[in-house]
Amino acid sequence: MTPAPIRDEPALVRGILIALAVLVIGLFILLPLVNVFAQAFSKGWEAYLAALVEPDALAAVRLTLLVTALSLTANTTMGLVMAWSLTKFEFRGKSLLITLIDLPFSVSPVVAGLVFVLLFGAQGYFGEWLIDNGWKIIFSWPGITLATIFVTFPFVARELIPLMQEQGTMEEEAAVTLGAGGWRVFSRVTLPNIKWALLYGVLLCNARAMGEFGAVSVVSGHVRGETNTIPLQVEILYNEYQFQASFAVASLLALLAIVTLLAKTLLEARLGRSGGRH
């Protein structure tokens, strides 16, 4: 699988290029990450823990977990449905639909947030009705969840579609001819074929959902202890000159990044070894 190393490159050029790559990664990626932890622990363990159990910080963690759990559930389900219908059926406008799935990636998150304000804000299309009926969408957790679902929508579908396209429908057709029903085909044939890619998509979706700033910032309203997610709480603390606390909360996101990276590497080994199949 690994390509043969290029041997005719002079040793010097090779050395310089490798050194450059190491330097860039060290300077732009590793150093900031290390710095987050250095700042977080700059006043010792106790200050670090105190920053994390502070009520507003805890509330931010809680909200982030809630929003992420809801977004993952929604996007895993929708991603599966989208990928299934787009790869197992033929219909007009299919390629347009595949293109549209990527829309959340190409739209600025701020615009994504504003769309929800325009729809559900007090001056929006549904605003009056929502207020009259006591529903709170914008500036509350449902709005934050909607914005997060929007920006993380493509992750699962994008991982599944190319794989399922490549796999085609032969195995499913075989299963159907042998008398399997729809659910049985899905759970016994399709799901085993795509499970690692599915996990991979869920993983990326999770990382982005927890870390999303722009879209969430627009719909949050920034009410302390209520509508701030972890990234918003980091900004607030930073702006209140509580730099150590800000980095302590930020270190949670950094940890998440590290865990994601590890899990991603493991999954990639899995995907690579079985060639996306099992």
């Binding site: 559900f120 799901l191 920034h222 730099f243």
Partner: protein, 343 residues
């Protein structure tokens, strides 16, 4: 019924899934204890003031009524905050940087048009002004407004479209130029030149302060007086100096109850009490401690050494003609700010 994962992986996945769903519930707060919850939507630099004032109010309200109260706060650029309230952020009270932002909320029917007459002193329990924060020793020799437009000087100020403080900054510069150079043409030229010295426009006053103090960008920060004092307090006297210009503007940050929201939530009485306490001796003292100029003459006297004497123009000066007119002339789409900033 089979499942496409091996048993161990299956168990692990199931556990992870349950944990993900259960975590928010497990971490959920105990049922809210407070009898009343108020939301104060405020502008950027009042974070420290209201953090302290909320505690004071909770104690007073409990003593007076026997009811517990929890006050939530949200801070950001004043214009942006007003926009959020208009879009449905459930504020019981708004404590913003300037009257126009509350006018904008009143225009959408959230509170009465005459809101500014319902509380004393133009509904502004404290005032402030605009000063310059420079690096220690004032290496660029900045003494007054015309020094800001000199070659090689970088000025930090937020975006007047979203920030209230930025609008006071802009109007103070305008008032100075009008007085010094004598015509609107010249004033426009001067303010235009000043903004060509601004490398970055943050959305709120606090963003600009962090840009100047923490990130070390720029030679001078146009700042709320309270924000300048706070920076010196946070970072130490040896980092920054405050320069008071020859002329500045009387900034009146107003407060109001948002009628429509408190009517729906039944919090009108607590919201009224909250704002009234700002005018009490205790409230005024707390404002002064946080470097806002108190209205109460007695408290003002106690703190007169803190606040430098400055020649102050007001927003009702004929040069501006009140906030509605100033907003229309300078900050509306296509207004003077757009003209000078796009050039």
């Amino acid at each position: 019924m089979s499942f496409p994962f091996k048993p161990v992986a299956k168990a692990a996945l199931f556990a992870a899934f349950v944990a993900a769903l259960a975590a928010p519930i497990a971490l959920a707060p105990a049922a809210r204890a407070a009898d009343v919850t108020l939301l104060n939507v405020s502008y950027d630099p009042t974070r420290e003031l209201y953090a302290q004032f909320n505690k004071l109010f909770a104690a007073r309200y409990k003593a007076d009524t026997g009811k517990s109260v929890e006050i939530k706060t949200s801070h950001g650029g004043s214009g942006k905050q007003a926009r959020s309230v208009i879009d449905g952020l459930d504020a019981d009270v708004v404590t913003l940087a300037l009257a126009y932002d509350i006018d904008a909320i009143a225009d959408r029917g959230f509170l009465a048009q005459d809101w500014q007459k319902r509380l004393p002193d133009n509904a502004s329990p404290y005032t402030s002004t605009i000063v310059f924060l420079v690096r220690k020793g004032n290496p660029k020799g900045i003494k007054d407004w015309d020094d800001l437009a000199k070659p090689g000087v970088q000025v930090i100020t937020p975006n007047p479209k979203t920030s209230g403080g930025a609008r006071w900054n802009y109007l103070a510069a305008w008032a100075y130029a009008l007085k010094t150079y004598g015509s609107e043409e010249k004033a426009k030229e001067f303010v235009g030149e000043l903004y060509r010295h601004v490398p970055v426009l943050d959305t709120g006053a606090r963003g600009s302060t962090v840009t100047f103090t923490e990130r070390g960008v720029g030679d001078v920060l146009l700042a709320w007086e309270n924000e300048a004092f706070l920076s010196k307090k946070e970072f130490g006297d040896d980092r920054f100096d405050i320069v008071v210009p020859s002329l500045s503007i009387l900034a009146e940050p107003p407060v109001a109850v948002v009628d429509k929201n408190v009517a729906r939530k039944g919090t009108g009485e607590a919201a009224e009490a909250y704002l009234k306490l700002l005018y009490s001796k205790e409230g005024q003292k707390l404002a002064a401690e946080n470097f806002y100029r108190p209205r109460d003459p007695d408290v003002a006297k106690d703190y007169e050494k803190v606040f430098p004497k400055v020649d102050l123009v007001t927003i009702d000066d004929p040069a501006f003609g009140g906030w509605r007119k100033a907003q229309q002339t300078h900050f509306a789409d296509g207004g003077v700010f757009d003209q000078i900033y796009s050039n």
